[in-house]
Symmetry: C2
């Protein structure tokens, strides 16, 4: 069978499984999730053996950071099982009825939460995404088609075996989770052309993957582009809080999308703030690239270019700009930001209100670290990704982002006049 036909048949089976999953009761879905967690823990040997094959094949081809992400250690396998148990413990979003009200005509109108249907996920490297993503899709009543990186093929197949066994043993359709079993890139191309079978595509990976998916997909895409996050320290900021928040936003972890990439400081407070914060960051090993004004305070830092302000470093580098006021800060964020996460530090409620209303980002934060922009921190339980789009889902996407709502109407013989 050719790749195109194989992918079509996979997608067709997913559509059929999705119908069963949409009807599945909460208890059946939870039983399956817990059963899969047990199977994963009982399969440590099989999983590490499969992973060893991938690691061996990849060790000369990919860089050490990617190789590290590819590895399935025992603690990562435990974490996968824990993740599934956590998803089992979350409330079932499906069937939730809200806003049920009587209308003047006598009918009751409300909304019921329903699954999206079939979720296609295209991702790179980390094999634990296979279990996390499949678990979230199961709980939200969807079927999923997973297309992992070719370097993780054996690991993903081994995880898939656990997932499908657990589904089967719990009386749910195995095909609710399918991992594409070919490394041929044509499989992705085919997936993107099947809107009749796949309701949404979620790409998780580098920019070139996301660009390809966005351009080619004939169904909606939940995508995550850059995280160029700002912290703006207002005139009326509390200096201690400002230092703690800026330092934490940049240094708590470097390679993540919700790390601060640019610090904006109100002119009136710049000297007092930067004389303390600058040396702390430099001592921590952060390279600061600042505007000319900031160079007068921190004499050793490099001059920032236009490009610096548009860069997501994902590293121990940051840009810095001194601005005259909140308006200039918001203009800078509008021009250079990526609408991901931006923080203001201020004690002034008018400034906080202005920033919160007007900054057009998926997370807008007052007096807290940008690092909080995360599904777990927000209480979503888990996240399948962070959306930088405005349509459908914005910011961290949990179970609810994998659902839709239909209208329900209850009458008692009512007709329209």
């Amino acid at each position: 069978m050719n790749v195109n036909e194989y992918t079509r048949q996979t997608a067709h089976r997913a559509r059929q499984a999705a119908r069963e999953m949409a009807r599945a009761e909460t208890s059946a879905k939870n039983t399956a999730l817990l059963r899969i967690a047990d199977i994963i823990l009982a399969s440590v040997n099989e999983l590490t053996a499969a992973n060893a094959v991938d690691m061996q094949a990849a060790k000369d081809n990919i860089d050490p950071a990617m190789l590290d992400r590819l590895e399935l250690t025992e603690s990562r396998i435990n974490a996968m099982a824990d993740g599934l148990r956590q998803i089992a413990a979350l409330p079932d979003p499906i069937g939730e009825i809200t806003d049920m009200n009587y209308r003047p005509t006598g009918i009751q109108v409300g909304k019921m939460r329903v699954p999206l249907g079939v979720v296609g996920i295209i991702y790179e490297s980390r094999p634990n995404v296979t279990a996390d993503a499949a678990g979230l899709c199961m709980k939200s009543g969807n079927a999923t088609i997973l297309r992992g990186g070719s370097e993780a093929m054996n690991s993903n197949q081994a995880i898939s075996k656990c997932l499908r066994q657990g589904l089967k043993e719990s009386g749910l359709p195995e095909d609710a989770v399918q991992v594409i079993e070919t490394t041929d890139r044509e499989a992705v191309g085919t997936m993107l052309q099947l809107p009749e079978y796949i309701d949404v595509i979620i790409p998780r990976g580098g920019k070139s993957l996301i660009q390809r998916v966005t351009e080619q997909a004939r169904m909606p895409v939940i995508k995550h582009l850059d995280g160029i996050c700002h912290v703006y320290i207002d005139h009326q900021a509390n200096i201690e809080k400002a230092i703690a928040i800026a330092f934490n936003s940049k240094t708590q972890r470097y390679g993540v999308c919700n790390a601060m990439e640019c610090l904006l400081v109100a002119e009136s407070i710049a000297k007092q703030l930067l004389e303390k914060l600058g040396p702390m960051l430099i001592e921590k090993g952060v390279e600061i690239r600042g505007c000319e004004l900031s160079q007068k305070i921190l004499s050793d830092i490099k001059l920032a270019t236009e490009e610096d302000y548009s860069t997501e470093y994902l590293a121990a580098i940051m840009s810095l700009k001194i601005v005259s006021d909140i308006e200039e800060a918001m203009e800078h964020i509008e021009k250079y930001g990526s609408r991901h996460t931006d923080t203001i530090v201020t004690e002034n409620i008018s400034a906080a209100r202005t920033f919160m209303n007007n900054v057009d980002s998926s997370s807008v934060i007052v007096n807290a670290s940008t690092r909080f922009a995360d599904g777990y921190e927000y209480g979503l339980g888990a996240e399948i990704g962070i959306s930088t789009d405005k349509f459908h889902a914005r910011g961290p996407v949990g179970l609810e982002g994998l659902t839709s709502q239909k209208f329900i109407v209850i009458g008692d013989g009512h007709i329209r006049l």
Copy 2:
């Protein structure tokens, strides 16, 4: 200036206006809506004169039904003004904060409703859509680019003049509403290629328009395809209610997407029901095309073909099928329906629950006419269209469908550990 460049500049101006609209206060938006209603009423002569030019040019080119929809009578002009006043009276969705809760870390996390940005609307014939759609976009803090049918160009320009004058007099940006001033089809092609300026496209018109927009648009689309709506009369239906609902669903208005196109009847109740309902429908002038079983009860009706069950008649024609039970009814709806609106008539709560949970349509109705599937009837105030997609907005789309939600976080110096 060529059409491509003209359209780009229009879209660029819309993006800038959208920023101001997003910040506009509720009172400014309402003042503008009420002011526009006044201007429209004061411009009856100008509007009917412009419409007369369109009517004169169109009278030999389009069919009488389209010509009727093109006409701007005084009562339709009054209705436009009324519509804008109703939108002014609706609560402002923008800035609404929901689900604001403390997290264990001490931060507060919630969601704030925000505009989508720039809404592109591509529509045909009815010039009153210009005012309705612009009003909904204004109230929801969006800018809009309207591309009406070429046959309505003069009417739409005249309405646009009222809209922009009202915006200007209320201190809001005129460019929050722009009507494309060329009939060149290339303008649509260009609009669909500008995701950097246009956040969502809403096509309202025939299938060929919707197909073209869906295929070419590089931004999300809120679209409305077929309405193949069913009424299923269950074994345990109350006959009186069943007759009233089926009759109303088919005959209250024929050419609308939420009219019943197919009646499904449980075998055990078919004779009793159809012997009453059949003659009523036939007397009303409805042509019934039924299955073989139904022909035994209603001897004069035509045999329904496969194609009949897949057809949105939008006319005084309907198909009919006798099914063994609710499962067969749901299978039929799954196979032939368009996921728009489907009704069950039953006194049995288990049947109602099964139907409501399992039928995958944008409106699922128990014991009421399909004709209730409508933004006004649902209390949305007005609708910009009915979405047959699952993503983002489903069913009648009112103000909320033109918005998104961002996360907001409030801390007091909180950092992530």
